[in-house]
Amino acid sequence: MGLDVNSIRSEFPILNRKLPNGKKLVYFDNAATSQKPQCVIDAMSRYYEEYNSNAHRANHTLADEATSALENARRTISSYFGTSPEQLIYTSGATEAINLVAFSWARENLSKGDVIVLTEMEHHADIVPWQQLSKDMGVEIRYVPINIENYFLDMAAFEIAVKDASLVCVVHTSNVLGIRNPVEEIIQMSHDSGAKVLIDCAQGAPHEQINFDDSECDFIAISAHKMAGPTGIGCLLVRKDAMEEMGPFMTGGSMIKSVTTKGSTFQEGHAMFETGTPRIAEAIGWGAAVEWLSQYDMEEVHSHIQEIASWTAEKMKNIEGITIYGDPKKSNSSGAVSFLHATIQSQDLALLLDEGGFAVRTGHHCAQPLMDALGVPSTNRISFWIYNTMDEAKSFVEHLEYVVKRFS
C-alpha cells in the first residue's frame, strides 16, 4: 500500500503556502512543531462555533457537550498511548509535564542526597527542573555522557550511574540528533535498581506508537503540538502506584473535594492535578489529531520519514564542508538531521536556506549541554514528518549545494 503522501498533504492547508518572496514553503522544522490537518483546525472551530462552554458540573446542555468532548478526548488520547484515561494528566505541554513530576512526585518522595540520573542529550525541559530541585533539596544529579563517535548514550556509564538512583529521566528521542535511546533497556535497568523512570517522549510520540502500560514506564511526558495537535496542551502519563505517591501541584477549582476556611481536601487520581478551566478546545483538537494519526500505521510513517532523512543526509555528506551530527541512516532515527557548514555560520546558512523557502531550525535547540558535548555552539537542523516528500528533499539538497557554492 504505502502512504498516499499527496493525499495527506492536501489535508494541510499551510503546505500550499507561498512565502513573501514567492517561494513555496518547504517545512522542515517538524521537530520544533508539526503542522495541523484541516480536521484538527475544524474540530476546534466547531467547538467554539457550536458548543463552547465551561466543562464539569454540567447542568446545561452546552456544558454537558463540552464536558463529554473533553473526556472523550481524554479517552481517545490515552487509548492511543496504550493506557486508560485515569493515567492521563493534561498539562500545557511536555515542559509542564516534567515540571509536574518535579513538583508533585520528586518534592514529595526524594530527599537530600537522593540521585537523579539525566543524560547529556536532554532538552532543557528535562534538565532545569532537576537542577532547581537539586538547588532546593540537595538531590544529586548524574549526567550520562554520549559517545561522540556514534552519538549513542554511553550505556556502560548509565549502568554505573543508575546504581542507587531514585529517578531516571531520559529523552526517548533526541530533538537534535534524532537518536532514539534504548528506552526499554533503560526502564528495565532503572526498575532493577529501584529507580522510577520518566521518559521525555516529546519527540518520540510523533514518530512511533507509544504504549505506556506495556512500557512499564512510570512517567511519560508528551506535547500535542509536535504530533498534529494544537499548541497549549500536552500530558503526563503516570502509572497508578506513582500517581498515588504524588502530592498536589497547582491548586484551585476542580481539583478539590471540599474547601472551607479551615482547610481543603483534594480529589484523587488525575483530577488532583488539573485545576482551573480546562484546555477544552485544545483537548478536543488533540483528540482529533490522535484520531487522524491513528488511521496510519506508525511504522509505515516512520519508514517514509526515515527514507527521506537517510537519503538527504547521504547527499548532504557529499557537499563540501557539511558535517552531520547524529546518524540519520540508523533505522530508528527520528529523521532529525543536525548539521553545520565549515565556513558558513549557522545563522547565515539559516537565512540563505529560508530564502529558498526552506524552514530550518537553527540554534542550540534547547540542548546546550549536548552542544557542549558536541563542541559546537549551535547547529542547523532539518526534520521531517508524514507530509514531507522526496521531491522536497531533492530541492533542499539542490538549494544547499547552490548556497554552499556561492557563499563558502
Binding site: 466543562a55 464539569h56 458540573r57 454540567a58 447542568n59 446542555t61 456544558a63 454537558d64 464536558t67 463529554s68 473526556e71
Partner: protein, 141 residues
C-alpha cells in the same frame, strides 16, 4: 425493536414515561415518583460512607439482603429528579436476587426518554447511583 433489558415489572413505568408529551411532562412524572420511594433512606442515616460521589446534589444509597435473601435498596436524595430515578430503581431491584441486580443495565432510562438528561457528564449522578447499587449487589452475592 430493541430488546428490553429491564425487569418486566418496570414495563408500565417505562411506558408511562415513553408516552409523555414532552420532557417537562417526564420531569413532572419523575417528581411524582420521587414521592413514591418504596424504601427511603431516612436523612439521619445519610452518611459519608453511603454518599454517592460525583453527584452534585446529595444522594445516598445503602443496600442489604432481606430475610428472604432478596435485594433491598434504600435511597435518598435532595434533588427530586435523582430521587425519582432512585424510586424507580428501587421498584425494579427490590426483591431481585443480587445476581440479577448486578447484571442490570440502566437502559430503561433511555426507553423512558431521559437519555440526554442522564449523560455521564451531567453531574446529577444517576449513573453513579446506579453503578453503586450494582456494586453493592456484586459484593452481596
Amino acid at each position: 425493536m430493541e430488546q428490553r433489558k429491564w425487569p418486566k415489572k418496570l414495563d408500565p413505568i417505562v411506558d408511562e414515561f415513553a408516552e409523555c408529551f414532552d420532557s417537562m411532562e417526564r420531569y413532572e412524572l419523575l417528581f411524582q415518583y420521587a414521592k413514591k420511594n418504596p424504601s427511603p433512606l431516612p436523612i439521619e442515616d445519610w452518611s459519608d460512607s453511603n454518599q454517592v460521589h460525583g453527584c452534585q446534589s446529595r444522594a445516598h444509597v445503602s443496600c442489604e439482603i432481606d430475610e428472604n435473601g432478596r435485594f433491598l435498596m434504600r435511597g435518598g436524595a435532595d434533588a427530586q429528579i435523582v430521587q425519582g430515578l432512585m424510586s424507580i430503581t428501587a421498584l425494579a431491584v427490590n426483591g431481585m436476587s443480587p445476581d440479577e441486580v448486578s447484571q442490570m443495565s440502566p437502559d430503561f432510562t433511555d426507553a423512558m426518554g431521559l437519555k440526554s438528561t442522564l449523560t455521564p457528564s451531567r453531574s446529577n449522578g444517576f449513573l453513579n447511583m446506579f453503578n453503586r447499587v450494582k456494586e453493592h449487589a456484586k459484593n452481596l452475592k
